[in-house]
């Protein structure tokens, strides 16, 4: 039984394997590291054969870290909760503000419309460090530093432009005639927005929400400067594992595995909305 496999197919498969190895091997290695002690990780040469230990995870969940120089308090679970609160609230608010704004930019021509949209996008150009120092000053003045609200507000710089620009493109792709038809049927403007525009742009909204969630989740510098210990997300919290007794590689690996999990689950969940009928076949020609 000779199955015919062309040379091109073999090459493509090989290329795919190389790319997957390149991107997935580090994650796999981190996953293995999270079940090893620091000594096992640092031995030379490294080996993938070891007796797994759960001590990294128990340390993270119990909040007590035993090191050579004594025991240390860590607030990793608190940090994880902070990340979840900050990222999901930021995305939620960015969606509430950004989706109607995206619709307005897509459907209506108004004075300075393009300029406003571009200004919002330009928030993504500027390095955060540029605005950080004045922000700290302002936030201390108005009492917003070290609050969830203050951080969520600053996170809008990350989430809002993304949602606005991605969702706008999706709204522009919906034939206005579909909305006109719904209006002519006797439905109000608001109902048309919620029953036609939003459902049809749902793949775009899902993509934009997921992306901005990831960006917010991975943010480091805003949270580092503007939040104190009990408001810090995982990205900043992981700094605590660089201790006076050395870098706790095992703990860091376990923390990475745990902090990647929520984003991964969210991405898997959002996937079905992402691929959902981009070409729904509503209009012809």
């Amino acid at each position: 039984m000779a199955s015919k496999i062309s040379g091109g197919a073999v090459l493509r498969a090989a290329a795919r394997i190389i790319v997957l190895l390149f991107f997935l091997f580090p994650i796999f290695w981190v996953f293995l590291m999270s079940f090893q002690t620091n000594q096992q990780i640092l031995r030379i040469p490294p080996s993938i054969f070891f007796t797994p230990t759960l001590e990294n995870y128990t340390a993270l969940f119990s909040g007590r870290l035993q090191t050579a120089s004594g025991s240390l308090d860590i607030a990793f679970i608190k940090n994880l909760l902070n990340s979840i609160i900050l990222s999901s609230c930021s995305v939620l608010i960015a969606l509430i503000l950004g989706v109607p704004a995206a619709y307005a930019f897509a459907r209506f021509k108004f004075r300075l419309g393009e300029n406003i949209a571009f200004t919002l996008l330009s928030f993504r150009f500027a390095p955060p460090l540029l605005v950080l120092v004045p922000l700290v000053a302002y936030f201390q003045m108005i009492g917003l530093s070290d609050t969830y609200i203050g951080l969520i507000w600053v996170y809008q710089l990350i989430c809002l432009p993304l949602i606005l620009w991605i969702v706008r493109g999706y709204f522009e792709d919906i034939s206005p005639d579909i909305e006109h038809a719904y209006r002519v049927d006797g439905h109000s403007w608001a109902k048309t927005f919620f029953k036609i525009a939003i459902p049809l742009a749902r793949p775009g909204i899902a993509a934009a929400a997921l992306l901005s969630f990831i960006f917010a989740w991975n943010n480091f510098v805003f949270a580092l400067i503007l939040a104190s210990a009990d408001k810090q997300p995982v990205t900043v919290g992981a700094l605590a594992f660089v201790t006076s007794a050395g870098i706790q590689y095992g703990i860091i690996a376990a923390a990475i595995v745990l902090s990647v999990t929520p984003t991964l689950l969210l991405a898997l969940y959002a996937q079905r909305y992402l691929v959902e009928g981009l070409s729904l076949g509503a209009v012809k020609g």
Binding site: H180, S279, A282
Partner: protein
């Protein structure tokens, strides 16, 4: 009773004036077929009536009430969009039911009405399908059903047969007049197909260069076209147009075509001495094998049978071409191939157009019966 009235409507986009000072009226149960080249503003006119756009000037009256500033949801207008504009995330049933849902019709009644309309349009077997699962013909019928279901006062059909195949277009052309009669609304039917306009409209309006060149019943458009363009567009095969210059002679008003003077009716007196185009419908050209008084020698180049009529393609010694029609049975006598025939032209039913601007110079005093 006038259902829809348009008064002095104007609309422009920037410096582009789409139409200016347009007005017409359509009664309940009547269909106005809007024909004209694309980009002539037909679709925009429908959008203005539906309330999707607002005019710059002028007013739109539905049942005598000015609907200026009234949103599309409150105008009681049904629209079938050219691109169907179905809701892709809803089933065909929900698409059709949408206008009833907007009015809060009770569920049982909605089901009853949708089933009724779907049966009328022969789409009752696909009601549970999503638009993407429908054929183009079914999509088009679903869009039509949605426009018809709540029996709107005004029905706007934007070239609904544009995107469907030839067979379905033919079927729908036969079915649509029946559907429109049932709907009992003022209907505007936009089309680029002049035959469709003639077949479906109680009135035909030709929108060209921002104004109505003519609004009249189809028969009148045919016999008394306002311009050479309209005469050319309406008529299949097309009208014969020949340059000429009417002169007054001892025998009365005459025009020289194919090198021979022919009498012209007196109502063309105003055209005397002017450069004109004389338009002769192919059915006013009779062709025979015998030479007779007043007949001209022609060479018959081709005979095209067209259902019950045949189209004859003729050429005279100088090479000028002429189209004629005759009953298909008569055409059999001519056989095939080129040969000599004799032609008489009924100039009493000819049309005369100014060669400069294409305007019709004079019309017969009374509308003549539509040539069979």
């Amino acid at each position: 009773m006038t259902r829809l009235e348009i008064r002095n409507l104007s609309k422009s986009f920037g410096s582009l004036r789409l139409f200016h000072d347009v007005g017409f009226a359509v009664a309940a149960g009547e269909t106005l077929a809007l024909a004209g080249p694309s980009g002539g503003g037909k679709t925009i006119l429908l959008r203005l009536i539906a309330g999707i756009m607002e005019p710059d000037e002028g007013s739109i009256l539905i049942d005598g009430k000015d609907v200026g500033g009234v949103g599309p949801e409150a105008r009681d207008v049904g629209v079938a969009f050219q691109n169907f504009a179905l809701y892709p995330h809803m089933t065909a049933f929900e698409n059709i039911a949408s206008p009833l849902r907007a009015r809060g019709t009770e569920t049982a009644r909605v089901k009853e009405r949708v089933t009724e309309v779907a049966a009328l349009l022969k789409i009752d077997h696909v009601l549970e399908n999503q638009p993407r699962e429908l054929s183009n013909g079914q999509k088009q019928r679903t869009a039509l059903a949605r426009a018809l279901i709540r029996r709107p006062k005004v029905l706007l059909l934007d070239d609904p047969l544009r995107n469907v195949d030839a067979k379905l277009r033919y079927e729908m052309r036969l079915e649509l007049p029946r559907l429109l009669a049932v709907a009992d609304c003022a209907a505007i039917y936009v089309t680029q197909d002049y035959r469709e306009a003639m077949g479906l409209g109680d009135l035909v309006g030709i929108l060209r260069a921002g104004r109505f060149e003519q609004i009249a019943p189809p028969a009148e458009i045919y016999t008394r076209p306002r311009s050479v363009e309209i005469a050319r567009l309406f008529g299949d095969p097309t009208i014969n147009l020949l340059p000429c210059r009417p002169e007054r002679t001892a025998e009365g008003l005459q025009v020289e075509i194919f090198g021979r003077p022919m009498p012209l009716p007196l109502h063309f007196a105003a055209a005397e001495g002017r450069d004109c185009l004389i338009g002769v419908r192919p059915e006013h050209v009779s062709v025979g094998l015998q030479n007779g008084p007043g007949s001209l020698p022609f060479e018959l180049n081709a005979v095209t049978p067209l259902n019950v009529r045949a189209v004859l393609f003729l050429r005279d010694a100088a090479g000028t071409e002429l189209l004629a029609t005759c009953p298909e049975d008569d055409a059999l006598a001519f056989g095939r191939g080129h040969h000599r025939v004799f032609v008489t032209i009924d100039t009493s039913r000819a049309l005369l157009f100014d060669r400069e601007n294409g305007q019709t110079l004079a019309l017969p005093a009374a509308a003549q019966p539509l040539a069979a």
